[in-house]
């Protein structure tokens, strides 16, 4: 199977698993933002990231940080697909005292690099990781950080955006899941209108790729594009919140909601079409 097909089938598997676990948990879950990031995560975990699922502590692994911490559905399903977490572990999602809750809890045994949930912090950590890798004589790895566009309302994101080019971190790759909806029902453009987000990052000195975040070919091209020396890479992935399930797409009722049996069956039927 070529990598395109592998990514495509991982994405489908992840969407199914996202629906399964949301329904099984019987709790409200961040479905919209979990579904918008699926192709990004599948591309990373099926093709781009360097890792060893048998040895999650492998020092040369690439580091992935989920800065938009509420995107756990798209994260845990990728870790399941990539063999970091077992089906049994996956099914503990939102069970009392589970390792897998609504935001990541640092647990390298499960491939989870950091605890998140407070927005606007992951890119700073990514800078520290990328700098440490640059400094290291014997091991080189890359730092990947996935942010949400709503998260970019946080001032601390821009502190990090300013610093990374200054430190010439061409081993740092940030991705913004630009789904254009955040917590409230109001479209993001009516809250903080980022407009041309790619141009903004570019003006800060990033090497920017503006892509369709559900187009695997475009994602691969952006990830594989040769690093511009001394520049961190930013991939603005234009996505659809709730992608893949028609009644969730661009419908912010699914930002955080309970998947009932009837809705679950409807959603699964759509995937199987």
């Amino acid at each position: 199977m070529n990598h395109f097909k592998r990514i495509e089938s991982m994405a489908l598997f992840m969407r199914r698993k996202i629906l399964d676990i949301s329904y099984l948990s019987s709790h409200a879950a961040h479905l919209g933002g979990g579904l918008s990031m699926v192709e990004i995560m599948a591309t990373l975990y099926a093709h781009i990231l360097k890792f060893d699922n048998k040895n999650p502590h492998w020092v040369e692994r690439d580091r992935f940080i989920l800065s938009k911490g509420h995107g756990v559905l798209g994260y845990f399903s990728a870790l399941l697909a990539a063999g970091f977490i077992t089906e049994e572990k996956y099914n503990t999602y939102l069970k009392n005292e589970s390792d897998l809750i609504a935001h990541p809890i640092m647990n390298l045994d499960l491939g989870i690099e950091s605890s998140n949930g407070s927005l606007g912090q992951g890119l700073s950590m990514g800078i520290g990781i990328a700098y440490a890798s640059k400094k290291s004589i014997d091991t080189q790895y890359k730092a990947y950080v996935l942010l949400g566009d709503g998260e970019c309302n946080e001032g601390s994101v821009w502190e990090a955006i300013m610093l990374a080019p200054q430190l010439k971190l061409d081993n740092l790759i940030a991705i913004v899941d630009y789904n254009k909806l955040q917590s409230d029902m109001t479209p993001s453009s009516e809250i903080i209108n980022f407009g041309n987000l790619a141009a903004k990052f570019e003006s800060f000195g990033w090497d920017v790729y503006d892509v369709d975040g559900h187009d695997i070919t475009q994602l691969i091209q952006a990830f594989e594009a040769k690093h511009v020396k001394g520049k961190p890479k930013m991939i603005v992935a234009n996505t659809i919140k709730g992608k893949g399930i028609s009644f969730m797409e661009n419908n912010n009722e699914w930002h955080h909601n309970i998947l009932t049996k009837s809705k679950y069956e409807l959603a699964i039927a759509e995937l199987e079409d």
Binding site: M106, E113, S114, S115, N116, G117, S118, G120, Q121, G122, L123, S124, M125, G126, I127, G128, I129, A130, Y131, A132, S133, K135, S136, A143, G155, S156, E159, A160, M162, L163, Q166, L167
Partner: protein, 300 residues
């Protein structure tokens, strides 16, 4: 910092554009790739420090007390508290030593905030020599820490001879049979001065340097509870949430424990003045501390 850096190749320093004010110029020049000026962006500074720490470095992050504790409080909570990453957050010029820079720069409530975050060790050295010992101990210490620096250049030393310093272990500087004074940071020296005055009026005071606020040396408090008529705490911090609170929270479980006087900064944003003027005004100088203790003890 420089000698700690020489001994520990994994030690790094990040600063929120206060490297020179923090006396880090020599470190920066000696180890240019182990020092990052993050810019005036404390939240990012703590996050970057956390990323470096995650990759095996022991990272000292410096800024003024309110900026490092309050501005980036949530970054400290997530990265140092929740994830227990090996970062030493260092507050320069805490308390009121920033004088005319004003309340915006004072560290009034920093300890209260930091000590309520799980997993942080909190150290507040008493003088220059103890700062050196703290830095060396922190360079060897694996885990998150808040280091609170008080006092100003030219403050008289508490220690004139070599002594043993261990994180978490208080130091009894003098023995006394009537009362125990627990002091921290800049107030250790002033409490020793107070004890001398109290001697002259017939009150014998033990003075304990509680340099580590968390984990607290509860044995020293137990000893005071069982042997002293009164416990006094003295700190250059708000009377809310600092050393006084730590000891009060502990001793409240005992039905018989001595009365406790909390001496510290009032719960207010006061007017700004020279450091010495403010210490006098807030009665945080030896002779005034002694008078207040004397009045307190007299009425017991």
């Amino acid at each position: 910092m420089l000698s700690a850096g020489e001994k520990n190749p994994k030690l790094m320093v990040v600063s929120g554009d206060l490297g020179d004010s923090s006396g880090l110029a020599r470190f920066k020049n000696t180890f240019p790739d182990r020092f990052i000026n993050i810019g005036i962006a404390e939240q990012n500074m703590i996050g970057v420090a956390a990323g470096l720490a995650k990759e095996g470095h022991n990272v000292f992050a410096t800024s003024f007390a309110p900026f490092i504790t309050l501005r980036s409080g949530e970054q400290i909570r997530m990265n140092l508290g929740y994830m227990e990453l090996n970062v030493k957050a260092v507050a320069i010029g805490s308390g009121i030593s920033m004088a005319f820079l004003g309340n915006s720069h004072y560290g009034l409530e920093d300890t209260a905030i930091m000590r309520s975050i799980p997993n942080l060790t909190i150290v507040c050295p008493a003088d220059c020599s103890e700062i050196v010992k703290t830095v060396h101990a922190a360079a060897e210490f694996k885990g998150p820490m808040y280091i609170r620096l008080t006092g100003a250049v030219g403050n008289p030393p508490v220690y004139t001879e070599e002594y043993d310093f261990e994180i978490g272990k208080s130091i009894t500087l003098r023995e006394g049979s009537d009362i125990t004074i627990f002091a921290i940071g800049s107030m250790v020296y002033e409490s020793l001065e107070a004890a001398k005055v109290l001697d002259s009026v017939g009150i014998s005071s033990r003075v304990v340097n509680m340099h580590t606020l968390k984990p607290c040396d509860y044995k020293a408090i137990d000893r005071a509870i069982s042997s002293s008529k009164a416990i006094i705490t003295v700190e250059e911090h708000s009377v809310i949430g600092g050393l006084g609170s730590v000891i009060a929270e502990y001793k409240t479980q005992f039905s018989k424990s001595p009365a406790h006087l909390i001496i510290g900064l009032p719960d207010k944003f006061g007017k700004t003045a020279e450091y010495k003027f403010l210490l006098e005004k807030y009665r945080l100088v030896g002779n005034k501390i002694a008078t207040d203790i004397q009045n307190f003890v007299k009425n017991l």
